[in-house]
Symmetry: C2
Subunit: 292 residues, 2 copies
């Protein structure tokens, strides 16, 4: 492990965790605590799990909260900040309108003109200008990264491997355009490509297309493939899957899920494995360049 990586894991002072939705924020908090590091959770209203957050030292984000975040985090001795969990795009400025008053308004507006990567790395800069060090969740809690191989007992078939390879090739082709991070390929046919709608909505659309007969490949054919975008700022937006991703993939009639190992996060691997067993799907960590 490099000195920088080791410094990220051990850190200086408690870790400030800005919490979006889902289980990931708590997986990261637990991992930090297991290493003896303190945490302070900044729970985003409307996103973070209100029940689970009570188990940790926490504050709720409020309108005008960016200035407040900086004050509380500094007073708590935090230098390192992690931004983790599901978060819809407009939330950031809706939540912290003082982002707009920190003489960064023109900057934020410019950011919104680009794709997600552009927006997110710009926001990282704004945190850094306030003296914080923005880290990727995987830097403070490497155990949340997807391992190579299957979670659960099911393995992809040869046909599934071919679909995975095609999916990775599609994501590689669209990568330069800062589009989505997910694609569905069934028996060599690209059924859906994610852009602004996100993975969950893409899977729902596919379930609808199948129900209405617009897509009629046999059930249990097709793979959801997720990969990081080339050049993506991994501090803010790693691809992630959870048990509900498995359930949505099952409703969409897919055979399984493939994510690039080591560059996607899994909040609750045991729950994912259990959901995969129950639904009869495979969930597998693969190399970024798949071999057919």
């Amino acid at each position: 492990m490099s000195a920088a990586a080791s410094s990220a894991i051990l850190g200086e002072g408690p870790l400030a965790i800005i919490c979006g939705g889902g289980s990931l924020p708590f997986a990261v908090a637990d991992a930090a605590q297991r290493r003896g590091r303190g945490v302070v959770l900044f729970a985003i209203e409307g996103a973070a799990d209100a029940q689970r957050v009570t188990a940790y030292p926490h504050h709720w984000s409020r309108p005008g909260g960016f200035g407040r975040f900086c004050r509380i985090a500094r007073n708590a001795g935090c230098r390192d900040v992690v931004f983790i969990g599901s978060l819809v795009r407009p939330t950031i400025t809706a939540l912290w309108p003082d982002f707009k008053t920190l003489s960064v308004l023109p900057r934020v507006i410019r950011l919104f003109r680009g794709g997600d990567d552009h927006l997110l790395s710009g926001i990282a800069d704004i945190f850094e200008d306030e003296g914080f060090r923005l880290l990727g969740a995987h830097e403070v809690a490497p155990e949340i990264l997807m391992p190579a191989g299957a979670l659960g007992s099911r393995q992809p078939t040869a046909r599934d491997h071919a679909d995975i390879a095609r999916g990775l090739a599609v994501l590689q082709a669209t990568g330069p355009f800062d589009i989505g991070q997910a694609v569905v390929v069934a028996d060599n046919r690209v059924l859906a490509l994610e852009a602004a709608e996100g993975t969950d909505q893409m899977l729902s659309r596919l379930a609808d297309l199948r129900a209405s007969g617009h897509v009629h490949s046999p059930a249990r054919v097709g793979v959801l493939v997720k990969a990081p975008k080339p050049g993506q700022d991994r501090r803010l937006d790693l691809p992630s899957i959870g048990p509900q991703t498995v359930e949505r993939a099952a409703r969409a009639g897919l055979a399984g899920i493939a994510v690039v190992a080591g560059s996607s996060v899994v909040a609750e691997p045991q729950k994912i494995a259990a959901a995969a067993e129950k639904a009869g799907l495979f969930v597998v960590g693969v190399d970024a360049v798949a071999t057919v």
Copy 2:
């Protein structure tokens, strides 16, 4: 005009037009009749406009209809066949189950394993094996192709031109994967990419994303860009737009629509121009490789 192109326009005997939904089949029939050529319409149940089809010599497609189509078309002296109008993918074999009994079942199944191009050019072969010549609608009625320049008075701005260029680049990158033919780019951000759902559903999704705040670029920003896929069999599946495309684009908050001139069809250019005027959108035919 080449001898082959001229032969397609003038043809041998009446033109058999297999009619899907929308206005395009009638635009093609009218164009053929204006040249003094007879037409026989084969209206697809559940797709073709039952009212408008009565103005032409016509037959309705029925289950078991592929054999019946061959008989009627041969008896009417038709050799040339055009397949035109909106048609959902599964309709073809649902409509003509005898496609499956013509000892082509393994072939059709293989076709469904590939993308749309693969399926459609395979179906063209099946027609040709029965002694018909499958032509593109644009070969018998070149006037249905989108012209270069604007329909209506609105013109794209410099920003719109940049979005168009990016959209064309995205479609060029995804072309090899036989995906969709349409993309929406707003202020340099790719908001949606079409795959199995089709252009109409993609635009509806975008309207929903805007209504729910997931996409919050200002209204009247963004362009729907449509282009033919590289290597696409144009006899069966040219990109097309109609007045309803303009209305859907307006509901999705876009500034306009750009289609590659000469390789997309427009059923009713006057109605499209009127719809564009009413909605305040531009509709423009562009070069396949856009200049910013």
